[in-house]
Amino acid sequence: MAHKRRMTAKRRRFYDSSIFVILSIVSVFAILVLVAVAAFLLINSIPAFTQVNQWGFFTGTVWDPTNPIEPLYGMVPLLVSTLIVTFVSALIAIPIGLGATIYLAEIAHPKIRKVMKPAVEVLAGIPSVVLGFFALTVFAKFMWEAFAPAWRPSDYLNLFNGAVFLAIMMVPIMVSLSEDAVNSVPRSLKEASMALGMTRWETVWKVIIPAARPGIVAAVMLSIGRAVGETMVVVMATGSSPQLTFDPFSSGQPITSTIAIEMGEVAANTPHYYVLFELGLVLFAITFALNYVADWAMRRHTERYQ
C-alpha cells in the first residue's frame, strides 16, 4: 500500500459512502425482478379477464383453445394433471428423501457420506431436459414392456412417468434442506436421549425428527414448489394431451407443459395468448403460497435453534 497515494480521511469517507449508494441501487434490482414478474404476468392476463369467460376458465373441464368454432379455455384438466404429478412425486420423493437424509446424517460411515453427498449434488445438477429425455426414451418403454398387457399403463406416456422423474429432481432438494435441519438439532438433545437408554432409531424418530420438523416442513414445501413449476420433465414424459383424467397412468398435460407447448404456436395479443399468461399467474400464485409456508416454517426453525 505504501507506494499508493494515501487517501485523506475525507476522501476515504466519500469513497465509502459512494460505494454504499452503488450497492443500495444495485440491490433494488432483485426486488424489481420480482415486481416485474408479478406486473408482467398481470398486465398480460388482464385482457383475458374480459375476453375470456373467467368462470369457464376456472371451472371448465375442457381445454381446447385451438377449436376454430368455439375455443374452450377450461383449466381444470391442466390443474388436475399438475396436482396428480405433484402428489405422486411427493409421495415418492418425501419418504425416500427423508430416509436418505437420516441415512446420511445418522447412519452412514463417514467415507460413504463423503461420496454420497457429492453424488446427491450431481443428481441435483442434472438438467431437467436430460431427465425428461431419459423418461421419454427409456423409462416409458420400460414401463410399457415390463408388465403384461393387462397391467400396462393406460397410455405409453403418462403422468406417473413424469412424476417419477419429478421425484428424482425433488429428492436432492429434500436431502440438502432437511439435512441442514437435522444437523442443526443441538447435539445435547441427542446425547440426552441416548443417555436415557433410547436406541438410535428411537432417538431419530422421537427426538431428532420432531426437533427438526419446521426445517423438514420447509424442505417438503420447497420441493413440492419445484414439482409444481417444473416444465421440461412433464412436457417430455407425460404425453401432453389436455384431457381431464384422474388416472395417474394415463396421459395428461400439466399447467407448465401447456404454457411451454402452446406459447410457441400462438399469435401475440390473442385471447389464447392472454390465457396462457393467466395460467402463468395461477402457477406463480401457487408457488408463491408454497414459498410463503416454507419461509414461515424456516423462520420458526431458526428461532428455535439459534
Binding site: R12, R13, Y15, D16, L23, S24, V26, S27, A30, V37, F40, L41, I96, L98, G99, A100, I102, Y103, L104, I107, A108, M116, A119, E121, V122, L123, G125, I126, P127, S128, V129, V130, G132, F133, F134, T137, I168, V171, V175, T199, R200, W201, E202, G229, E230, T231, M232, M236, T256, I259, A260, M263, G264, G280, L283, F284, T287, F288, N291, A294
Partner: protein, 282 residues
C-alpha cells in the same frame, strides 16, 4: 431385544432409500454415457448439423450455450455479489434488507417457465428486443440471480466477525475491510455458487424456449440481437418432434455433451468448496 430389531429394520429401510438415490443417478448417467459415447467425435463437436440432424455435429448448439453462459455470468454475477454484500455487510436488519430477503426467497421459487413468460412479455415484446440471445440471457440471469445472491451471502457470512473488527480497529473504512478482508476469504464460496448457477443456466430449457432459441440456423449468432441454437433445446426438440425420426444418435450425443458439461461444472464447484472448507477453518 425387540427395540433393537426395530432399529435394525428401520435403518435397513433408510439404507435402501439412499441406495435408490445412488442407483437412480448411476442408471441415468450410465445409460446416457453408454448410448451417447459412440456418437462423440471431433466432427460431432466441431461441425454444423447436416441432413436433418443425422450427420455432422452440434457445434452451433455448443457455441450458443457457451455464449448464453458468458452473458448470464456478466449480468448475474456483479448484481448478485453486490446485493449479497449489501444484505450481509451493510443493512442487515433494516426493513429494506428484509424485503430484499423476502424477494430473493420468492424469486428462488418462481418456476422457470414463469421466467420465460417474463422474458417474453417484458424483454422480447415490451422492450422490443425480439427473439434474441440477449433476451434469453437476461431471462436466465433473472433465474439464477437468487442462487448467486444466496450462495454469496452464505460465503460472506461465514467469515468470522473478529476479522472485520480487527480490520476496522486498525482504522480502515467499511469498504476497505470488505474489499481486502471479507471478499478474499469468501471468494471460494462465491465462486462455487457462481459455477453452480452457470451450470443451471446451461441446462435450462423452458425460459429460452420462449425468448429466442431456434432449432436450425445456418450461421452462428452474429450479435446479441440474433437468434441462437442451444443444446438443451436441441435435445428437447429432436426428442419430441416426430419429423426427425432418425436422429437418435444426435439426441444421445447432445444429451451426453450437455450432461458432461454440467456434471463437470458441478464437480469443480464441489471440489473448490471442499478444498477451501478445509483451508479456512475458523
Amino acid at each position: 431385544m425387540r427395540r433393537r430389531t426395530k432399529e435394525r429394520l428401520f435403518f435397513l429401510l433408510f439404507r435402501g432409500c439412499a441406495l435408490v438415490v445412488a442407483l437412480a443417478l448411476l442408471i441415468i448417467v450410465g445409460n446416457i454415457v453408454l448410448l451417447g459415447i459412440g456418437t462423440i467425435s471431433w466432427e460431432f463437436l466441431t461441425q454444423f448439423p447436416k441432413r436433418n440432424f443425422t450427420d455432422g455435429g452440434i457445434f452451433p448448439a455448443i457455441v450458443g450455450t457457451l455464449y448464453l453462459m458468458t452473458l448470464v455470468m456478466l449480468i448475474a454475477v456483479p448484481i448478485g455479489v453486490f446485493t449479497a454484500v449489501y444484505i450481509s455487510e451493510y443493512q442487515g436488519k433494516s426493513r429494506f434488507a428484509n424485503w430484499l430477503r423476502v424477494a430473493v426467497n420468492n424469486l428462488a421459487g418462481v418456476p422457470s417457465i414463469v421466467y420465460g413468460l417474463l422474458g417474453l412479455g417484458m424483454l422480447v415484446l415490451f422492450f422490443g428486443w425480439g427473439f434474441s440471445l440477449i433476451a434469453s440471457a437476461v431471462t436466465l440471469a433473472f433465474l439464477v440471480l437468487p442462487l448467486v445472491i444466496t450462495a454469496s451471502r452464505e460465503a460472506i457470512q461465514a467469515v468470522p466477525s473478529s476479522l472485520r473488527e480487527a480490520s476496522l480497529a486498525l482504522g480502515t473504512t467499511k469498504w476497505q475491510t470488505i474489499r481486502h478482508h471479507v471478499l478474499p476469504y469468501s471468494l471460494p464460496g462465491i465462486l462455487t455458487g457462481v459455477i453452480l448457477s452457470l451450470s443451471r443456466a446451461a441446462g435450462e430449457t423452458a425460459p429460452i424456449l420462449l425468448t429466442g432459441v431456434v432449432l436450425t440456423k445456418s450461421i452462428l449468432p452474429q450479435d446479441i440481437w440474433d437468434t441462437f441454437m442451444a443444446m438443451p433445446f436441441q435435445l428437447y426438440a429432436l426428442a419430441t418432434q416426430t419429423v426427425f425420426e432418425k436422429t437418435q444418435d444426435f439426441q444421445y450425443g447432445t444429451a451426453l455433451v450437455l450432461l458432461v458439461m454440467v456434471v463437470l461444472m458441478n464437480l469443480v464447484a464441489i471440489i473448490i468448496r471442499n478444498k477451501y472448507r478445509e483451508k479456512y477453518k475458523w
